[in-house]
Symmetry: C3
Subunit: 350 residues, 3 copies
């Protein structure tokens, strides 16, 4: 899609300076933008690029002074960075609204109910009694098992698989390849050393405004629900086991894993590749460092931990610092042993 400088200025309430009919069709960094792109200048550090950039349109702060002539059309706004962010949101909204209708071939069970302005791409599969809310966008190769519910404005990127009976809220985005509702990992050991499957008959509930990255796994509960609370943001390649609860506005970075039945509080931050054992509680506002291994409940809100096993952040860092110099510490102990032995031999017993 192409936009003129004048159209963009209207979207973000800015003033055009220069060629109002200059057109752009994509976005670029000011230092590497091409002649069909729009850029912005917010950080004075990059001002030199204002005079050399190939961008056709640039959003600048209204206070921006020009030391040289500028070939691009300028759009002046009170705050260039936030105007640019606003523009991106509006642009993505416009792009998404264009996705609509049912592409063929797709498989939509006759008992499924689809809302208004829904997009169902080719090769998507919508099972029995599925409910899809208004404005939901379903990309190619998505699988929705029987009885799944998808709330309005949600977006399912290519190849997302949602097993039967799971419930997805409104304004949720789930990226490509993520699996919601696979069986929890439950097997009962038998006397002969084999394992018997424990049926996993619960579901997964993902509340509103959640975003989940690519190729993540959120397993269904054994009974009841695995729950991702409203506003949580989950990255790629996550493992969320059965019956876990993730609190509101909690953020989990890529490749982290949470074992079964653990309850993670609100506004928690979990670093990449961190692991949390099962059946524990993580207090609100906890910060868990990348690669940590959390092996017991964290009860004090807003604490920070690191290491595997994980401990309180500051003291763990202190231990790590000593740990690095262990060979030196051992040498000091050896030296002491020699001196003390010498002293023991030389001592005068009174």
């Amino acid at each position: 899609m192409q936009f003129t400088a004048a159209q963009i200025a209207m979207l973000i309430n800015g003033q055009v300076e220069g060629n109002a009919s200059a057109t752009v069709d994509s976005f670029g960094k000011i230092e590497e933008a091409k002649s069909n792109q729009l850029a912005f200048l917010a950080n004075p550090k990059y001002e030199e690029y204002l005079y050399s950039t190939k961008a056709a349109v640039i959003i600048v702060n209204e206070t921006q002074e020009l030391k040289e002539p500028v070939s691009a059309a300028l759009i002046r706004v009170p705050d260039a960075y936030s105007a640019f962010a606003t523009l991106l949101h509006k642009y993505q909204e416009i792009m998404r609204q264009q996705l609509s209708g049912i592409q063929e071939p797709s498989f939509i069970h006759k008992t499924a109910v689809l809302g208004e302005n829904v997009f169902v791409a080719a090769f998507s599969y919508i099972g029995e009694k599925v409910q899809v809310g208004n404005n939901v966008k379903i990309y190619p190769g998505v699988f929705l098992g029987d009885n799944v519910k998808i709330g309005e404005n949600s977006i399912l990127l290519p190849g997302v698989k949602i097993y039967h009976d799971c419930v997805i809220g409104k304004n949720v985005t789930i990226h490509a390849g993520t699996v919601i509702g696979g069986d929890g990992f439950g097997f009962a050991p038998q006397p002969d050393g084999s394992y018997k499957k424990v049926p996993q008959i619960g579901n997964v509930v993902v509340e509103d405004f959640v975003e989940i990255g690519s190729n993540s796994c959120i397993d269904r509960a054994t009974i009841g629900s695995t729950i991702i609370r409203s506003g949580a943001k989950l990255d790629n390649l996550l493992q969320i086991a059965h019956n876990v609860e993730v609190g509101n506005n909690t953020v989990i970075a890529a490749q982290a894993g949470i074992s079964g039945s653990t309850k993670v509080g609100n506004n928690v931050q979990i670093g990449g590749q961190a692991g949390i054992v099962g059946h524990i509680q993580i207090a609100d506002g906890t910060r868990i460092n990348a690669q940590s291994g959390v092996s017991k409940s964290i009860k004090t809100p807003n604490s920070a931990v690191t290491g595997s096993p994980a401990f309180e952040y500051t003291s763990a860092l202190r231990s790590q610092a000593v740990s690095r110099n262990l060979p030196d510490l051992e040498k000091r102990v050896l030296e002491l042993e020699k001196l003390v032995q010498q002293l023991m031999q030389e001592r005068v017993i009174i």
Copy 2:
């Protein structure tokens, strides 16, 4: 599907007490069940919910005494928990038997051979000379490469991809998005710093009664087979590299990884996010703690290890305990140094 209390009692050899025609269509925990659900009471801790639950039907121990009137229909059995588990298995069996036939559009090569009562969902792809056993259930978007064999009663959930020549046993379940038979990671370094691919011409053999979670990867062997032995249970997001062997009834938790050519024995337990280097052996019955990094063979059966690099469990825990107090230990050494220095200066040489 709906069942009456009478029908359920018949399936699990129980006695109905109350309304034998009460109907349910799903399962719930006794403390949160809805009026269309069946629950069970096995743990006396939850007895209070027997009198307040909305569940329409409850399975209880035959010895269960009632302190108050119960509105739900009761089904009395010798052991409520195991009767409930049995019921779930039968229910899932019934549900699965209903899946049958070929949905369109699907792609089935004319040389492929399908057994009796097979289900092939829409958008599934079955390549040349593929053999699919009786009662196999293939969900949407599954890919079976040329010459793949799937044993009877196996279930391939949505988006499972099995590369050419791989062999899957009987009664195997593979969850959504898992990739079986991708190329092993083999590249020969060249004098100019680049890498030349080593062709990966082996396959993967998954034996009977194996279950594999979602979005896991099991790579094909360079030559020969990567093998998952009978009864092994593998969780989500696992990496099993080329030429690995995983023994009978071995259990591997999510996000663990096993490097090339390593042989893991029988009845081994591997915790989440653990890693095992290549070309080593892990003895039968070994227990590897979550996040461990196993860097050499474990030869003693039934041993337990933890840490990265991993060591014997008890002594590793002891080291970790001291490690936590390292700053304190360093302080003690510093104190000793001062005292010894003082003693050295004060000593009386005889």
Copy 3:
């Protein structure tokens, strides 16, 4: 496909000894090959199998002496191992050339441009203005978003998803389930504790001769490009975050993760399950051990690190060695304290 010993000898410039019309249709290890297979003998350790193998054709060194009669047809070449590798490459080339044409049903937007001898399998989705180079092979269930470019000779295995605007070079192989161009994980914290999505409008550029394993994730840049440089080899289940750059001929083992905006140099080796924080630089030739956690830039080329947090390899190993004996070290300190206390009490003040 079947080949005779004579045909194979011609492909690798060898001399047939025995039945030149013996046929094979696959490859096996000499110790376990079947009667329809070709094997090779390069390592003298395996010579005994030359006389007992069931393989119909065996590639051997031209200097190989026979101590017993051999039933298989032999093909003599100067170097059996490299002739075998050459044969595999030619075989895979032949197999791949056979893949051609458009299978139905597939979805190819009318504005997409496909080169010569392209294969598009059933259930693949090719969006608006996509450009697909000559000889590209697209397996079932692949998704190519709008404006994606795929360079010639590249191979996209089943279920690969490439989001809009991403660019894939020539001779690239991407294995099943991998997601290229999912949104970077960028969310701005709001005063009320919630997060606001930062639009991710960049793309991913994968240069020539790159191979990427199964179920990996490479996120698109916030602005600009996430870049995988020519010749890099990436394993399964990797996380490559937004705006990361991976250098030429860099090798990354399974389950490793690289956080946002980090620049990894050329010829770097990253072990399995290693993690690298965001916004740092890794010098050319760095070797990062498996499970390491790299928390700051590595500026010296060709250095090696291990541990979490990661340090210089040799000194980290030394610290780990002492760490293992910490309980012993603590005991020695305790013993010293007792002796020093005794000495302090017994000392003679002059």
